[in-house]
């Protein structure tokens, strides 16, 4: 049985449901990428999506902030509620939804602008700052949340693209945090980073759990074990098993989960 190298303290008292998905189906044209997924994601919790590549982790993650809307051939069915509100309802503007459900991508993608402008962009378009001092404060707070303030505070007007990969990713997290989202989606945020940068980002994720519901896709089981409280295992578009991270890694119910964790599939 796979032995988690370091288990964070499991916070099992938190049970408030942030996102509830029922019977979710996603199709790319004729490809059935997500099959009948039911999952309940808790608030102030890090939920990890694991599974072999191509199993639909990213696809499912992107249904949660309707990023899939930007793909013409993609079709989503089923019921996904955030705080009890159906995010696929006709009245919902996906743009507004994405301000509430922030996203961090696999490859760090800062805008080719200054560090300051990267972080200030979201607050600016959402009108979160009344004036310049306000905006300065928001930027500083976000950069502190992103655990990168100390490294960039002297060069806020240097280009964000000039930072190292790990710094760029933390900048992107700060940028996502600046719009004050309630949920943070992260699609393999560390896959392009070296081990040191990875551990910095992982620490940051653990910090973020205090204020947000964090959903992280990862192909690294160690990472899932290190940062998450809940883990969902996807396989061929199905959600095979979902539960406490400790339980998934030590005592999985489904044989497919066990094979994946012990390295026989994936």
């Amino acid at each position: 049985m796979y032995d988690a190298p370091h288990t964070t303290e499991r916070d099992v008292t938190q049970t408030e449901i942030k996102i509830a998905a029922k019977n979710v189906q996603v199709y790319y044209g004729d490809t059935h990428a997500i099959k009948d997924v039911d999952v309940q994601i808790e608030d102030k919790t890090v939920t990890a999506f694991i599974g072999p590549s191509g199993c639909g982790k990213s696809t499912f993650l992107r249904t949660l902030n309707r990023m899939n809307d930007t793909i013409d051939i993609c079709r989503v069915e089923g019921d996904i509620r955030i705080d009890g509100e159906d995010i696929y309802d006709k009245r919902v503007d996906p743009v507004q939804l994405r301000a509430k459900v922030g996203m961090v991508f696999q490859k760090p993608n800062p805008f080719p602008k200054s560090i300051y402008d990267n972080v200030a962009y979201g607050p600016r378009i959402h009108g979160l700052a009344k004036n310049k001092t306000d905006l300065d404060e928001i930027v500083e707070r976000a950069l502190k949340r992103g655990a990168i303030w100390n490294e960039v505070k002297d060069r806020l007007h240097a280009p964000g693209t000039g930072l190292s990969g790990g710094q760029q990713q933390r900048l992107c997290i700060a940028r996502a945090v600046a719009t004050e989202p309630e949920v943070l989606l992260m699609d393999e945020p560390c896959s392009a980073l070296d081990p040191i940068a990875t551990s910095q980002v992982e620490e940051l994720i653990d910090e973020l759990r205090k204020d947000y519901s964090v959903v992280i896709v990862t192909h690294s089981m160690q990472q899932a074990a290190r940062v998450s409280q809940k883990t969902a295992f996807f396989h061929l578009g199905n959600l095979v098993e979902y539960g406490e991270t400790g339980k998934i890694f030590t005592n999985p119910e489904d044989p497919r989960t066990e094979s994946y964790i012990t390295g026989r599939i994936g």
Partner: protein
């Protein structure tokens, strides 16, 4: 060119890497060969470019020089102002016929005073030496400044085209038998005047800024007015093609749903880029002139036709520039709750700007050099004698354009126009070159790293 398969029968183990084996030698040889082909191609290209530039410069540079005669002209009050009150209205009544004898007299006096040996002794016999435009120039000067009447003024007169040709080597004494415009006696005068410094070549700004002239006065013709025509056309093209082209590209690239209809539009735009320009000309003739009733030969119509022609170029390059912006930038913007429009205008468009500008300027440069569509809307062969006064006139009054002017000169019978056609090409090339330089500068300025 490269050989991917390794020969299986050569055992590679245990061989020294100090000696290149047969396979490696073959590969290196083929690489060298390939580089040689490339160098040869570039060499040929550079050679032809140099030949072209050499031809253009050697044929065209002489157009910028013109032969002038410096002569003091006595402005006889008895002939120009019979009433003697210097009233500009009275002065205007004297036509160029009144000025011609004055100029011819002045030349004859100069020839005699310089002791030039010639059998000619009548003033009217000097006519062949001077440009037919001289009288009009002198008259303009007198009307602008009536006080000159009665004075002797120094006047710089354009020499006749044949005289100019003689100095430039275009007119040869052997050919005089077939030439009705000049004869050996006059050329003897020219030779002696040149020796005494009375007649010389000088830079001719009139060629750059002046108007075209009739077939019989090549020495007077300039490309300036046609340049204005081109300028107004380019204004139209820029004002229409850039916003329409960029808007269309943004819509097609970022917003349009992927269906058969957008595919159809896409195919059509690519095909439009390959449609011969004369087709756009005939379209302009029937739509803008015959149907919409816009004036013939007007730069506005020319600009509209060239806009149609330039649009596909701008759309194709703008779409390429938009495509080249990494999709991760769009995701980043959308991911923090920017709308599609915000993500395009705040992030994608600024990054695509260098490409868009380059495409636009290349499209403009193409339009600037386009002649065929202008044939059909009457912008070729029209001689505008005055610069348009004001913007509206500039767009609406008949004019020509630089390439049309060059074409016009090239087809005229008088060989003096031949050098002017080449000279016009030099000016056109200077414009194209500057546009390209502007494109490079703009691209540098807008370029950002990511």
């Amino acid at each position: 060119m490269t050989d991917a398969s390794m020969p299986t029968d050569t055992p590679r183990h245990g061989k020294s890497i100090m000696v290149a084996d047969a396979h490696t030698k073959k590969r290196n040889a083929s690489e060298k060969r390939f580089q040689a082909y490339g160098l040869a191609a570039i060499g040929a290209g550079v050679f032809f470019l140099l030949v072209l530039l050499g031809a253009i410069l050697s044929n065209g540079l002489s157009a910028f020089q013109q032969t002038f005669i410096e002569v003091p002209v006595y402005l006889d009050a008895a002939k120009l102002d019979k009433n003697g009150n210097r009233d500009p209205e009275d002065l205007k009544k004297v036509s160029t016929f009144g000025y011609n004898p004055l100029i011819q007299n002045a030349i004859l006096e100069q020839v005699q005073a310089a002791g030039i040996d010639t059998p000619l002794d009548k003033a009217s016999e000097m006519k062949a030496l001077i440009s037919a435009s001289a009288a009009a120039q002198l008259r303009d000067r007198v009307i602008a400044n009536p006080d000159l009447v009665g004075e002797t003024v120094d006047f710089r007169i354009l020499a006749a085209s044949r005289v100019d040709g003689y100095l430039k080597g275009r007119v040869q004494r052997e050919d005089l038998a077939r030439d009705k415009n000049i004869d050996a006696v006059h050329l003897d005068i020219v030779d002696q005047m040149r020796e005494r410094g009375l007649l010389a070549k000088a830079f001719n700004w009139e060629f750059v800024f002046g108007a075209d002239a009739s077939e019989s006065r090549p020495e007077q013709a300039g490309i300036g007015i046609a340049m204005l025509g081109s300028f107004f056309m380019m204004l139209v093209v820029l004002a229409l093609a850039l916003p329409i082209g960029v808007a269309a590209s943004i819509y097609l690239e970022e917003f349009a749903p992927q269906n058969w209809f957008t595919d159809l539009i896409e195919v059509n735009i690519s095909n439009l880029a390959a449609v011969p320009s004369i087709v756009f000309g005939i379209l302009g003739l029937s739509v803008f002139i015959q149907f919409a009733g816009l004036p013939q030969s007007a730069p506005l119509v020319g600009g509209l036709v060239l806009t149609l022609m330039t649009l596909p170029t701008i759309i194709i390059s703008t779409r390429a520039a938009l495509k080249a912006v990494p999709p991760s930038i769009r995701d980043a913007a959308l991911g923090i709750g920017a709308s599609k429009m915000q993500s395009v205008f705040h992030h994608v468009l600024p990054l695509a700007m260098p490409g868009i500008l380059t495409g636009t300027i290349i499209g403009l440069a193409q339009a600037l050099g386009e002649t065929a569509p202008l044939l059909l809307i009457g912008m070729v062969g029209y001689i505008a004698t005055n610069a348009p006064d004001g913007l509206v006139e500039g767009f609406m009054s008949p004019n020509s354009a630089m390439p049309a002017q060059i074409y016009e000169w090239a087809k005229r019978a008088d060989p003096a126009y031949y050098e002017r056609a080449w000279g016009g090409i030099i000016i056109l090339l200077v414009f194209l070159l500057s546009m390209n330089i502007i494109a490079i500068i703009l691209r540098r300025r807008f370029e950002r790293r990511w």
